[in-house]
């Protein structure tokens, strides 16, 4: 370098850059309001007494010293550990059959296993009551033990968590390199040895990730423990009792913070695992192609058939029971359980509420999520803003619905908060739902955007085309399948979610999934089953519509064919 250096240059932002930065700013604000600030108010509430005076760890001490409360902590750990121990092996074998065998009808088996996702977690719990409850058909199978309690919770959780575990494991097992198996064969390794030295290590991170996801799902789920928990208290029901039952907001906040811990841990583990997973499969790997082996394929088919039929059966019990006159004494079919007005003052309008909430969450959520992901991925400069928005977008994954809902109570009821007018409105339910399911949607959109050529924006700039035109003419059309995924994901989750909205609905805005909780509470189990059935079929219809629509996209858009 010669004597004096040239003067430094500051890049001048173009009009496009300025627009994108302004939008990023708005996004940071939206995520602050919808995620960060509510969580902050929850956290600070847990350190305050009833009058809002800072009391340090006093609330936490009281929590640990109250045996009735602290017991739930252990109860939660127990059911979560038990469910994980049962679900992970079952889902592993199921996923193995789907990815590594020549079993027939794989799409059918995959579809069967995904059924529970379409339903609120309450549904398997309701089915269990019909089967093993006080009036259960198969009550005798439990040798006089009540289904209410740990047994019921774990059983229902297994059903509810199965598809989540299966999906992660299918992804993990799909990433296999044929060449590793060929080398193992060439070296004369036995099947067991190949399984232990190639298959299992390859799926290791998937298994770890699954275990943590399932553990978190169980700990944070509210519906199942509410319906079949009986007197077996867990954290999720405690938080509800503290807040709704006893109006003890401080203790609710403490339980909320405790509930946040396993979720945060699992989130951290998942991040680490995801980073390691990247190096697993190089670009040159040869995708694994299973070869037929009669004995194995048959055994796996029998296994999957068993699991698939059980899932279908559990699902069918609720559907069937919802058409029964008086379980189990009068099994004639009837539609009177669908006259929801008899069980809930709002009647069918809870379903309308749910449709409004799900549609609004899907439409606004998709727009917000996609635009946000676009700004994070494509805006230039302003690294701080981008990093902040991305970080905020990742938080909801680690926040259980109940905790987010409770945070909303604190934040939107805060004295002097102008956003307080939203409290009790449908708008707040929508904001909450979008925030609750933000991360997965954000990541889906981000993945799709990362697959676009990095230079589209550069080309557009060189052609003097404004960035918004390329966004609408190129980016959005290409990402349409991912956008559709996000929309459906938000819709189905908004239809089935119970946990976050339970703290936020008002008598006019109550959604259908919550009507199930209420009906079950008041002893109208048949009505609850009916409503659950309506939700399942709505979700299923939407899923099928998505399938049809994406087929249509690939058929009508010539450029998608290669």
């Amino acid at each position: 370098m010669t004597a004096a250096t040239a003067p430094p240059i500051r890049a001048r932002a173009s009009r496009d850059d300025l627009i994108m930065r302004a939008c990023l700013g708005l996004f940071a604000l939206w995520l602050l309001v919808a995620v960060a600030l509510p969580l902050w108010s929850l956290l600070s509430k847990s350190f305050q007494d009833r009058d809002g005076v800072f009391v340090g760890f006093a609330n936490y001490l009281r929590y640990v010293e109250t045996p009735a409360l602290f017991q739930s902590f252990w109860n939660s750990l127990f059911v979560a550990a038990a469910t994980t121990a049962i679900v992970v092996p079952l889902a592993f074998v199921y996923a193995y059959a789907l990815t590594r065998s020549c079993m027939r009808l794989k799409p059918l088996f995959q579809g069967l296993a995904l059924i529970p996702i379409l339903a609120p977690s309450l549904l398997p719990a309701i089915s269990l009551i019909y089967l093993f409850g006080n009036q259960g058909l198969l009550k005798g199978w439990l040798f006089g033990q009540p289904v209410y309690g740990a047994v019921g919770i774990v059983t229902a959780q297994v059903f509810y968590c199965f598809p989540h575990a299966m999906m992660i494991l299918v992804t993990a097992l799909s990433m296999a390199d044929q060449r590793l198996y060929e080398s193992a064969d060439a070296l004369g390794a036995s099947r067991l040895r190949v399984f232990l030295t190639v298959t299992l290590p390859g799926a290791k991170y998937g298994l770890i990730s699954t275990a943590f996801v399932i553990f978190t799902l169980v700990i944070t789920d509210f519906g199942i423990a509410k319906v079949v928990g009986g007197r077996f208290n867990v954290l999720a029901t405690d938080i509800y009792k503290q807040v709704i039952g006893q109006q003890n907001f401080e203790m609710g906040a403490v339980v909320g913070v405790i509930l946040l811990a396993p979720a945060l841990l699992s989130f951290a583990v998942d991040r680490v695992v995801a980073r390691r997973q990247v190096a697993q499969l190089s670009a040159r790997a040869v995708p694994f192609e299973p070869k037929p082996r009669r004995g194995r394929d048959l055994a796996l088919t029998v296994f999957c058939l068993g699991i698939g039929l059980t899932i279908l059966g559990v699902f069918a019990v609720s559907v069937w029971a919802s058409f029964i006159t008086f379980w189990p004494y009068n099994l004639t079919l009837t539609l009177k359980n669908y006259e929801f007005g008899n069980f809930d003052p709002l009647g069918w309008s809870v379903y309308v509420n749910s449709l409004i909430m799900a549609s609004a969450s899907a439409v606004f959520g998709t727009a917000i999520v996609f635009l946000g992901a676009y700004l994070v991925e494509k805006s230039k400069g302003f690294g701080l803003g981008r990093g902040l928005v991305h970080l905020l977008a990742m938080i909801p994954l680690a926040v259980p619905g109940l905790v987010l809902g409770l945070s909303y109570i604190f934040f939107f009821n805060m004295r002097g908060n102008p956003l307080g007018v939203l409290y009790g409105t449908m708008a707040l339910l929508v904001v909450n739902t979008i925030a609750h399911f933000y991360t997965v949607s954000h990541l889906t959109a981000l993945t799709a955007l990362k697959q676009l050529d990095q230079e589209f924006e550069a080309v557009s700039a060189s052609l003097k085309v404004p960035v918004w035109r390329t966004f609408f003419k190129v980016t959005v059309p290409i990402c349409l399948p991912a956008i559709l995924d996000v929309t459906i994901y938000l819709f189905v989750n908004a239809m089935t979610t119970v946990s976050a909205v339970i703290f936020l609905y008002s008598s006019e805005t109550k959604p259908a999934a919550l009507a199930i909780v209420n009906m079950d509470e008041s002893g109208f189990t048949a009505g609850a089953a009916g409503m659950a059935t309506v939700i399942v079929f709505t979700s299923a219809a939407v899923k099928l519509a998505q399938l049809g629509l994406s087929r249509l996209l690939s058929r009508t858009q010539a450029w998608r064919t290669r």
Partner: protein
């Protein structure tokens, strides 16, 4: 060589680009004249793409200035500069037809449909794809996609055409073919063009001037002949073409000693006797025909091995008496036959004094 008189069209002044602690461009200055075809050549990581992106405004430099057509564009965003660009990936919009891709920049300039359409037709004819309009990029071969990308970049009649490794994603045959088309097109349109490549052959064929870069600095700027014949540094000598590197000591003015033998060298680059030097000679410059033993710079060698390369063969030679440099030399197939060259043969060769280039030995 395409260099017109008058002020430069593009003038780069002391450009530096840092990514954190890494300096990608270190105080680079360069002038490009109107209608010139300039190629940035260098290994990956040498800063050539960084320089191109700085010229486009895509990654603005840390320090230094860029003037284009008399205007200071140093800090302008890409949208406010005047250039067309073709990327290695082509970055064609997959959901738009070829016609819409090429017309993409025209529509937002308020051109009428008819005007746009006729311009698109003209451009597609120009790149030799008059019938591709209704097709989608995925239906085209790599070479065809490259032409569409070129047509799109040319559509808005930019003052400067930037090409970022446009041919490197293609297979060898298509690449050679397109190379010539690109050169013809550039001549015909007379558009100032800068291309980035790591392929020295491409650079030699296409460029009016080559800018050889390494480690963020310009090693040499010159015509292809200058670069090949008179490399300014051992790096350039090594990177472009094949080169014998012989360790030597300057013995006297105009004389070096290599492995104990004396050789005469026309130019010693100002090196004083006693300095360690690197003497370079291209394999094809080693004189193998009609060498009289005892003539200037001659030595007796033995053929160690032969590598058949089609039109010629490359031989590894070692001094027959063991004292002297190992050499690589090219034999035409004719000569190979005439002399009966095969491993083990001894023959005299000479290193012509005017073909020897001397550099100070680094370190």
């Amino acid at each position: 060589m395409g260099v017109s008189g008058g002020p430069p069209y593009l003038s780069i002044g002391r450009l530096t680009k840092r990514f954190g602690a890494f300096t990608a461009l270190d105080d680079v200055s360069l002038e490009v004249f109107a209608r010139e075809f300039v190629v940035f050549l260098g290994p990956s990581g040498c800063g050539k793409t960084t320089l191109l992106r700085a010229i486009a405004g895509l990654d603005i430099q840390t320090a230094g200035t860029i003037h284009q057509d008399g205007q200071d564009v140093s800090s302008l965003p890409p949208a406010e500069r005047d250039f067309g660009i073709v990327f290695q990936s082509y970055a064609l919009f997959p959901n738009l037809s070829v016609r819409d891709n090429v017309g993409y920049g025209l529509v937002s300039r308020g051109k009428s449909r008819a005007e746009t359409l006729s311009r698109v037709t003209e451009l597609l004819a120009l790149v030799g794809m008059p019938d591709a309009g209704p097709k989608y990029p995925s239906q085209l071969s790599g070479g065809q996609q490259q032409r569409v990308a070129l047509a799109r970049a040319l559509a808005i009649s930019p003052g400067l055409l930037l090409l970022d490794e446009p041919l490197s994603a293609l297979d060898a045959r298509v690449r050679q073919h397109l190379r010539h088309e690109l050169k013809d097109l550039q001549r015909k349109l007379g558009i100032t063009t800068i291309m980035v490549t790591h392929d020295q052959e491409e650079a030699l064929v296409l460029a009016d001037r080559i800018v050889v870069m390494n480690h963020g600095v310009i090693e040499q700027v010159g015509t292809p002949t200058e670069i090949y014949r008179k490399p300014a540094s051992p790096f350039v000598a090594d990177f472009v073409g094949t080169m014998n590197f012989l360790e030597a000591m300057v013995a006297a003015p105009g004389t070096v000693s290599i492995a104990g033998r004396s050789f005469r060298v026309d130019s010693l680059n100002g090196m004083k006797p006693g300095t360690a030097a690197l003497i370079c000679i291209r394999p094809e410059d080693v004189k193998t025909r009609n060498v009289e033993p005892g003539s200037e710079n001659a030595l007796e060698v033995e053929v160690r091995s032969l590598e058949f390369l089609g039109a010629f063969a490359r031989a590894r030679l070692a001094a027959a008496d063991g004292a002297g440099p190992d050499l690589v030399a090219d034999f035409s197939i004719n000569l190979l036959r005439d002399l009966g060259v095969e491993p083990g043969l001894r023959l005299p060769v000479a290193l012509p004094a005017d073909r020897l280039r001397a550099f100070p030995k680094a370190g």
